[in-house]
Symmetry: none
Subunit: 255 residues, 2 copies
DNA sequence: CAATTAATATTGGTCAACCAATTTATGGTA
DNA sequence: TACCATAAATTGGTTGACCAATATTAATTG
């Protein structure tokens, strides 16, 4: 009357073993594809303008469904690396708007921002760009900034606002800061604000002549590697805009 | 013997009319969906943790195929705004540690932005956020910053890194700056960098205790409305990171 | 032979059906 | 009544077929 049963003995779990086991990371097919395409580009096997094989061929070659290939291509397009041409193919993009700028724009779009916040942020970014430019501008940078300065003078002397030349001067300083992230931020912030301030015609008649003189002072400080002076000159240059936007803010607050 | 044919008279094209015609922009269904979801979030109708309706319902509601809905959700997930839980649904991500996680590193990697530029830009943004916070923080802000400070202390005393508490402290200062643009930019910048510096374990054993003390000093300056002191304390706090990234930059330069 | 038109092939975009994984509902047992 | 196991429903993920648009090739016309 003995029933033979298989008894499984319960042993204590040796937790120590867990320490030697590492988390495994399953990489998505699309991420693997992205890596391979990135490598082809950075190794020079793919250049801007080159066309990639069709999705169906990539799908076959990689041994995954077309969905995964599409995911990868879509992501690389978001990063600005590829450009998808419907019914024609996918090509390697030239370097236009970068992913960082796209990202910044999108995050900024999430909220409604008041004008004053933009202006205040621009002022502090440009102030530092001028400081860094005074520190880091090489001969090439200085030539570019001076050319932009001269172009702006020519426009002002001809009685025009010189919107593009004004913009160029500021953008060349951003470049001379030799900080690519700061440059990306200013690429977003500066153009809209220069255009806006010209539309609003914030300043009186002598403004563009004065703006040119302020540009000149900024440039002199940068040329002389006067970091503090450059920052202060830029801040002074943008002070009207800051004042205007503060008044605008207060006016809306009292409404 | 006369064959009557319809003769269409060729008139010269009036090119002047072209000037009055504007380019129309066909918005992709996915972009429209993204906008609507964004608006729900920024208007407060959707909050972190909230679950969206299933793809099929959204598809039906928006009157488009599921592919378009998936495209939109995928993009919003890429931005860290949404989080897709397979077989469970899609939720609104919290704008804490999970937000934008790993995104900056991907973007920087792909577009050859150097790490030092990124760190340098962060330092100047956070420095100014601290200054503005010292100027503008109200009682509510101070309570929030102090709570974050205490939470970080508790973690450090327990021997932990306190990643989320560290992050929260910085984010609360950004909020107290009362500049929405600056706040948005710091939402991009801060999460990745705190995580990265913790991973690299830049600092020695006493670092987290020292970090807490530096937080305390920053908070004191803000509480006492000491604008200059707050900026300097924040700069000092981030100095290790700046030094590290400069060394990293020089090391790569000499490679 | 060159230019134009028509037909075919290719390519990215979209769709509905199916799959895999999780959640919810239901029924049975202690 | 609480807990567990099973079944059903739901949900995001994947696939192959089809669609829309472009590119290429072939046929026709002057």
């Amino acid at each position: 009357m003995v029933t033979q049963t298989l008894v499984i003995q319960k042993l204590p779990v040796n937790m120590e073993i867990l320490k030697n086991l590492e988390e495994i990371k399953i990489e998505k097919p699309s991420d693997i594809i992205i890596k391979q395409i990135k490598n082809l580009i950075s190794s020079g096997q793919l250049n801007p303008g080159d066309r990639l094989p069709p999705e169906r061929q990539l799908s076959e070659k990689f041994g995954v469904g077309r969905s995964h290939v599409r995911d990868a291509l879509r992501k690389l397009e978001f990063y600005g690396i590829l450009k998808t041409l419907p019914q024609s193919g996918t090509v390697v993009a030239g370097l236009g708007v970068t992913a960082l700028e796209g990202l910044i724009n999108d995050v900024l779009d999430l909220n409604d921002h008041d004008f004053y916040s933009f202006v205040e942020t621009r002022v502090l970014l440009e102030m530092h760009a001028a400081e860094l430019a005074a520190e880091r501008a090489d001969v090439d940078d200085l030539i570019k900034i001076e050319n932009a300065l001269n172009a702006f003078e020519k426009e002002v002397d001809a009685g025009k606002q010189g919107v593009e030349e004004d913009l160029l001067f500021h953008l060349k300083i951003a470049e001379a800061s030799k900080n690519s992230v700061l440059n990306s931020l200013l690429l977003i912030v500066i153009p809209d604000m220069i255009k806006l301030s010209k539309n609003l015609d914030i300043c009186g008649d002598g403004r563009y002549k004065r703006a040119f003189e302020e540009h000149l002072e900024i440039f002199d400080c940068i040329k002389n590697h006067d970091k503090k002076g450059a920052g202060n000159a830029m801040k002074a240059h943008l002070n009207d805009l800051l004042t205007f936007s503060l008044e605008k803010k207060n006016k809306e607050k009292n409404k």
